[in-house]
Amino acid sequence: MIVEGDFTFRAPRRSVWTLLQDPAVLVKAMPGAQKLVSTGDGTYEGTVRIGVGPVTAAQWTLSVALHDREEPARYMMKVDTKGPLGFTRGSASVELEETESSTTMRYRADLQIGGKVAGIGQRLLDQVARQLTRRGLEALSREMELRLNLAVGPASASFAVATGTIVEAELVEAEAADATDDAAVANPESGDAPEPATADSGDAEPAYSADATGDDGSPDHAAHPVEPLEETASPDSPLPPGLDDRPAPVANLDSELPPGTI
């Protein structure tokens, strides 16, 4: 399964780089993340708890190894998750490109998904992967804004630890959560802006995608065809279920983002 897309942060590239290497941030941004520990140069391990559709929530071990890092422009990573319901393995690349007032991150993950989650989560995987990715990126973006507002600024790389990027972590979970789906996936809807665009994957039943994402078997909110993504906010997710309830800094997140962001 391929998960790819891009996302624009309104922040300088170096700040984004730092953000992406900070396990403390990443663990917050990963839906279902329970633990994330750096285990050495560019490697880290953790656990996430997530389920998809008919696959009940389960704990997955996650290990990520970063390599070919070219700070602050790009890095690659190997991703491996295992759980009682299957596995995910693969590699991902992340590239950061600086523009005038923002940084665009391009990501692409090529993942194999196996086991139970591959067999029965199939039709949900594509959407779930996108959903989790989007949720994670939004969380990151908020974190970034927060940092900028607090004038923390481009952090002084005190966390030299290179941990798996959020993006990957999320992808991993997503897949882990159910697995595969190559066919439809290859065409990422990275580009659609706010919610309405999420009707993207025209094929699937919104109802499914909604429960699909419920990480911890979160209650299945009645799915709206239009906004399945938000429906499924997990307990771990910083996002409340409805856009309107969002705290102020978050509320206009989408509108602030240039078109083309998730």
């Binding site: 596995f87 998904i113 196996g114 139970k116 591959a118 067999g119 029965i120 199939q122 190559d182």
Partner: protein, 792 residues
Amino acid sequence: MSGRYVGQSVSRNEDARLLTGHALFVDDVRLEGMLHVAFVRSDHAHAVINSIDVSAALERPGVVAVYTAEDLGDYWRPGPLLVPPPPIEGIVFNQATQVPLAKGRVRHAGEPIVMVVAESRYIAEDALADIFVDAEPLDVVADLEAALAEGAPIIHPQLGTNLAAHVVQRHGDYAQAKEKAAVVVSRRFHYDRGASAAIENRAVAARWDAQAQEMTIWDTTQAPIPIRNGLAAMLGLMQSQVRVVAPFVGGGFGPKIMMFYPEEVLVPWAAMKLGRPVKWTEDRQENFYATTQERGQVHDAEMALDAEGRILGVRDSFLHDTGAYDPYGLTVPINSQCTLLGPYDVPNYEAEFRAVFTNRITVTPVRGAGRQHGVFVMERLLDLAARELGLSVAEIRRRNYIVQDDFPHDHKILFQDFQPLVYDSGNYRPALETALELIRWDGFADEKRAAAAEGRRLGIGVVSYVEGTGIGPYEGARVTVEPNGRVRVATGLGTQGQGHYTAFAQIVAEALDVDVANVNVVTGDTREFNWGTGTFASRGAVVAGSACHAAAVKVREKVVEVSARILNVNEGEIELCDGTARVRSQPERSITLGDLAMRANPLRGGVTPGTEPGLECTAYFGPDRGSTASGVHAVVVEVDAETAMAKFLRYVVVHDCGKLINPMLVEGQVQGGVAQGIGNAWFEQLVYDDNGQLMNASFADYLLPTSLDVPDVAMAHRETPAPMNTLGLKGVGEAGCIPTGAAFAQALEDALSDYDLEVTEIPLSPNRLFDLLRAAPRRAPAPNPAAPEAFA
């Protein structure tokens, strides 16, 4: 044999129990102290197992035992090769049968690695999460051609190749025939995998009675006697110490044959080892991984014809996906190879196949068992040739049928039973004409035009098939008249819904002239009947039915003999009527069969030397060869070219299964078979990704046809009696599903005749048809006068 009971649509003896919930299924078996089983199954399609840590599972309360391959000791060994390779010259066969638990390496997703035995299934399943399998993924063999390429990852290193078999069969000289051809058509055809999707999943329960030194195994098998024999050998017991019961089974369809599945082998072993009853019931998701599948084949086929459309020869070369193991030998590809010939006279045939190991779930026969693949290839080639020659699809078939005075017809190749492929009997053309009439072929052009005027697209298809049925080696039956007048019939094969309790009862009732409801049949219990093979290859009614007949005839002789003595008349004076034996000329002098049974088993006085007590006989039947059933399917479909949705509007089956025992049962078999065939053609497909992962292992994604998708099949029966058995029987169990894909493909092309569209693959789906339509150029003037532009 004629017909007071045989040939009548007698209602089913088994239905009262089935419909009121009183039939025993394996999962109904509940025994004191019974333990339950769950399996850790491989997430990977191909991997090396480095280590397995079960320590946490063992600590979980309620877990009684956890077994890996290492824990099985000497009991761990590859399963038996169920069907050895046929004696074909030059054959290559590489054996690799499944193992009880993966040792060192897994070869398909879902292969069992660890067995957990616990006080409840809940605990057993929870314990699965406690077990850690350290597996290192290997490259996966997922494509048939790539599997045989240089440098492909090897699934069974000891073989050094992924080639499971290579077989060439031929008669005549195809190359020479082709030189004289006016038309040669050749194509590549794909036929992908499907699941049997029985209503009841597999289940095994076992109890070791240490006091009686007896093992009882309840098993959803189609072949309890071979399973009993095999398990007795594995467990180190005498066959007579092991009783296998296949009670009511909710659908067999092939995968429940004597597979010696890991679960089937392990549950009795665990029951013996732990001294407690043990049960495992497959859940639906497990079924997609743990039960064998069928279908993947790729054919490169060619047909040479003369200018009149007569077949000069056929050449076919195909790859057959046998999955990770090949325990069932070559039955499926040999069926494909032989059944391809159909009802046609093919003077030159050159047929080759390679069976290939892949990292997918093992392939064994599923209803049709490879026959549908051959039929699809042959019927499609005929359709293509008809188009080139400007013949109708019906006419090209008429010109190629084996004619009636050409039976027995020897195709001069070997069939799956290792006997020459000889058709015992048949009469094909009248079946075609009847089918054309029933589907309203002649009026169809008008119907199509009228529909087109309403913006609806209709298409029609008609295809033929032959099915080799009723193969040996043998079955047996014991018939007993009990003192209460009821008749007991016991036979060894298992029953999975076919109506054996009725069909066999009818045969016995006919011989003894007793009411069918008074004949009590038992199948599938090795304690009741000790000899036989099983229910497969459309052979139950033919082979076991013939054995029931033979046993009943012998009992009848006893009845006549004993009653003549008691009534003091010559044996020739005795007739049987409504459960009594009586004197023909003085019907008031009679004795009931029950009284006769009592008198034949005296407590005092002498039994005549040389006679046996009671009214009981056992007989066997073993045909030299199978009997050849045949038929024609015709279908009308409606297709929406915009949405690529298709509906089956009418379906006709004209079939010849020899003499009918019970037309209602035959109709049920055919209707159900067509439902399965329609599923195979348009709904069902097991989809694997490049890493050998099955991607639609649930009924949410693996679609089965519903009652709304399957029309009521209009049927006509033709009876060409089989010469190989007394009753003239042929099998019908698989007839409904064999040519369905071919009929559907032809009808689709007809409905879409203004597109340059060829259907060379099954299964199809709306998505796939949509892609084909988008890729197909529109033809300028539709060749078919009934095509839509006719109304323009």
